[in-house]
Each structure stands twice: as C-alpha cells, then as structure tokens.
C-alpha cells in the first residue's frame, strides 16, 4: 500500500463537499477497490489517531460513504464561516423520526403538534426524510442521505437509534 494512493484518496475526500462512496473514489482515482479500502483505513488512522492532536479535521464513515469534516470541538469557531442549514426545530423533528422510524406522521403530530407538517415538508425537500402514503396519513422514515449528512457510521435503523439515544443521554450528563 503506497503513500501515494493515500494522498489521492485524501485529495478526493477533501475536494468533495459531500460524502463520497468507494465507487466514486475508485472512479476519480482509478485505484482498485482494495487499494481504496486500504487507503481509507490508513487515512482514518492518520487523522483520528496519529495526528489526533495535530489536526482539527477528521475522516469519518458517513452511512456507506466517507467524508472529511471539522472535529466537533472546533465546530463552534468555524460555524461562523459556514452556517448550518437546518433549523434546530427541524433537527429535533428529524431526531424523532430517526428514532421512531418507521413512524406515522399522525403519531408524530401527537408528539410534536401540528407544526410537524411544515417540518416534514422541509425535511423531505432536503431529501433527509421519506414520506409514503399510508391510509389517511404518511409513514415516515429517514433516507439514505440521513446518515451521510450527519456523519453517522451506520445505515441500520437500530444502530441509528442507539446512536441517537447515546447522544441524548450524553447531553443530560453534561
């Protein structure tokens, strides 16, 4: 495994503004799947372990894709340069959908109130939530984009649920 492959994959992760799949990295770099895999393992190790204290950037698996992003502890400072896109209320509704999915819009309405209709519209438009007709209501799930967007290392609803539960419990302990 050459250092050069690692650099190629690094440049791709850096330049893509959204998470990229192994397939996309393969296409951009012309490397084999095996080499891309190995380079990703190396990069995750380099950024998150070896250089841990010497970089504010991390390489993470997001859904089935990979991405480079600012480490959480440096987040607040850089937030002024690139603003968050989703309102905090919408994020809460999204967190409820992700936890309870598949969840009926009518049940969600009972939890959050009628404002959820707007939220669901917004989240659907952002392609983070999927709404499927279900009798007189809609059945809501998160999309494939959801874990990618938030850098969650799983596409499995059960694991996403665990991730969220930990986050919520973490926020109480603070």
């Amino acid at each position: 495994m050459g250092v050069k492959e690692e650099r190629l994959v690094e440049s791709v992760l850096f330049s893509a503004s959204t998470p990229v799949s192994i397939e996309e990295i393969k296409e951009a770099t012309g490397l084999s799947k095996k080499k891309v895999d190995a380079a990703l393992v190396q990069l995750i190790k380099l950024y998150n372990v070896e250089r841990n204290k010497e970089t504010s950037i991390e390489v993470v698996k997001a859904g089935n894709k990979y991405t480079m992003q600012v480490k959480k502890k440096f987040f607040d400072q850089s937030v002024m340069v690139s603003k968050p896109e989703i309102q905090s209320h919408h994020l809460k509704t999204l967190a409820l959908i992700a936890f309870h999915q598949p969840v009926k819009q009518s049940n969600l309405r009972r939890m959050v109130g009628p404002k959820i209709y707007d939220h669901v519209d917004e989240l659907s438009a952002m392609k983070l939530v999927n709404a499927k007709k279900h009798g007189s209501t809609e059945m809501l799930t998160t999309t494939k984009l959801f874990p990618e967007y938030f850098g969650i290392d799983s596409t499995n609803p059960e694991e996403i649920r665990e991730f969220l539960a930990k986050k919520v419990i973490g926020s109480i302990k603070k």
């Binding site: 987040f75 994020l91 809460k92 967190a95 009926k104 049940n107 007189s136 209501t137 938030f150 919520v168």
Partner: protein, 264 residues
C-alpha cells in the same frame, strides 16, 4: 347496553300502543323509569338524579311498586345512564379526534409512549434546547467552470432549444385546437357573440394598467355582475394563452390577481 335498548324499545312500543301490559313488576319498574325519562323529556345524558328520584317515587307510589325495588331501580338507572353518558363523551372525543386528526387505523405503531426508552427519548428531545443531531462542518468547496464545460453547455443548450421549439409548436397547435373547441362549446351562450372583443378589451386594459400586477377587481366594475363575468372569462382565456398569470392568495374566495411580468 343491549338490555337498555330492549327496554327503550319496549317503552316506544308501549307508547305507540297506549297502555301495553308488562307482567313482571321488575320490568315494569324499569319501564316506568325510562318512561319518565322519555315523557318528562329529561335529557338522559344529563339527568338530575334528585329530581328524577322524587318524580320516580311519586309515580311508583301511584303505580304501587314496592319501594325497595324502586330504590334499586333508581340506583341502577342512574348508574346505567352515567355509564352511557361517559361512553358518549368518550365516543364524541374519539370522533373529534378522527375528524381533526386521522383515522381509526392510526393506532400508534411505534408504541413510543408504551416503551420507556421511546417515551424518555421523545421527552428529552422535546425538552432539551439542543437537538441530538448536529450538522457536521464540511467544506462546501465549489470549483470553477472550465471553458470546455461552457462550450459543452452551449452545444447542449442549442439542442435543448430545438427540442423546446418543437414541443412549443405542438403545444400551440393543441392550444389552438382546444380554444376552438371551447369557443364552439360557447356557441349559443350569452357571452359568445362578444367573447373575442371582450378578451381584446380586457387584454388592453391589463396592458395599459400602470403596474404589472393587479387584482381582478381593479380592472372591472365589481358591482356589475355581467362585467365581472366577462372580465373573469377573458382573464381565463388570456391565462390560457399564457399572456398573463393568475393566482389567488386565499382559496377559494380570495381576490384573483393578474400578473403580466415575464409574459411579455
């Protein structure tokens, strides 16, 4: 509940036939109780127990029913009525829910309130000021377009334009066909004779209006019913011909607005 309905039926039959004989004293007492409710036009869902009791006792004395049975019947009737009224409230609430909310099939699937985890998670998410999800900070870098891409785009745009022209011609033909059909259908109608002139007149009015956006009522005398209809019809035709765009802010009875911008 079905027993009560039986008795109510009995009362109805009794009243219809005027003085039916009821053999069992117990049934007879019940009959009297419900008879009272019906004849005194008491609201069975909102019965004043004290009032009901004194009336019943009075009647029971007249009819020579023993007081112990009468007392039991009063108690039972009251209980039953109470049950029924409770049931009614529940039923009405459910119905309201159904109308304002969703259908009966909307019984929670996730059972979020039944599972402790689901319940506390939901509560915590709602109560915490910060959502458990945070948007990561990534680069939103965009690269410059190259000249080659611009040229490719031009090539593509020319093809798009050709396609659009072709489609537009087909659309125009179809529009003309439909317009002709619509006008034929209007034949014999009161407005048919002057439709073309009306449309032209309204179009001139719209064009001479100092703004590109106007309400329907600003270009016609709203008190004149005929003129209102004429203007409205013409506006519909003009919108159909894509000369204007019409919209409403409030549906269905809000003001109709006309916009010419972009359709010059």
């Amino acid at each position: 509940m079905s027993r009560i309905n039986e008795y109510l039926d009995m009362v109805k039959i009794a009243r219809d036939r005027d003085g039916i004989f009821i053999g069992s004293p117990f049934d007879r007492s019940i009959y009297l109780a419900f008879d009272l409710v019906l004849h005194q036009q008491l609201n069975p869902w909102d019965i004043d127990l004290v009032n009901f009791s004194s009336m019943y006792l009075k009647k029971a004395q007249e009819e020579k029913i023993d007081l112990i049975t009468a007392g039991r019947i009063i108690y039972m009737a009251w209980k039953v009525l109470h049950m029924q009224s409770d049931n009614l409230v529940v039923h009405m609430e459910a119905k309201q829910d159904e109308e304002h909310d969703f259908g009966w099939e909307d019984i929670p699937t996730g059972a979020w309130f039944e599972s402790d985890d689901g319940y506390s998670y939901t509560n915590l998410v709602m109560k915490n000021p910060d959502p458990p999800l945070e948007e990561p900070l990534r680069r939103d870098s965009k690269r410059k377009i190259t000249l080659i891409e611009l040229l490719d785009a031009f090539d593509q745009a020319r093809k798009d334009a050709e396609e659009y022209q072709l489609l537009d011609q087909m659309r125009k033909k179809e529009r003309d066909r439909l317009a002709l059909k619509a006008r034929k259908a209007m034949k014999g109608a009161a407005h048919e004779d002057h439709l073309e002139e009306d449309i032209l007149a309204v179009w001139e009015k719209i064009q001479s209006y100092p703004k590109k956006s106007m309400s329907l009522s600003s270009i016609c005398n709203t008190d004149d019913f005929d003129e209102r209809i004429k203007t409205f019809l013409s506006v519909l035709f003009l919108a159909y011909d894509e000369k204007i765009r019409i919209y409403q802010r409030k549906f269905p009875f809000g003001e109709i607005y006309i916009k010419t911008i972009g359709y010059t």
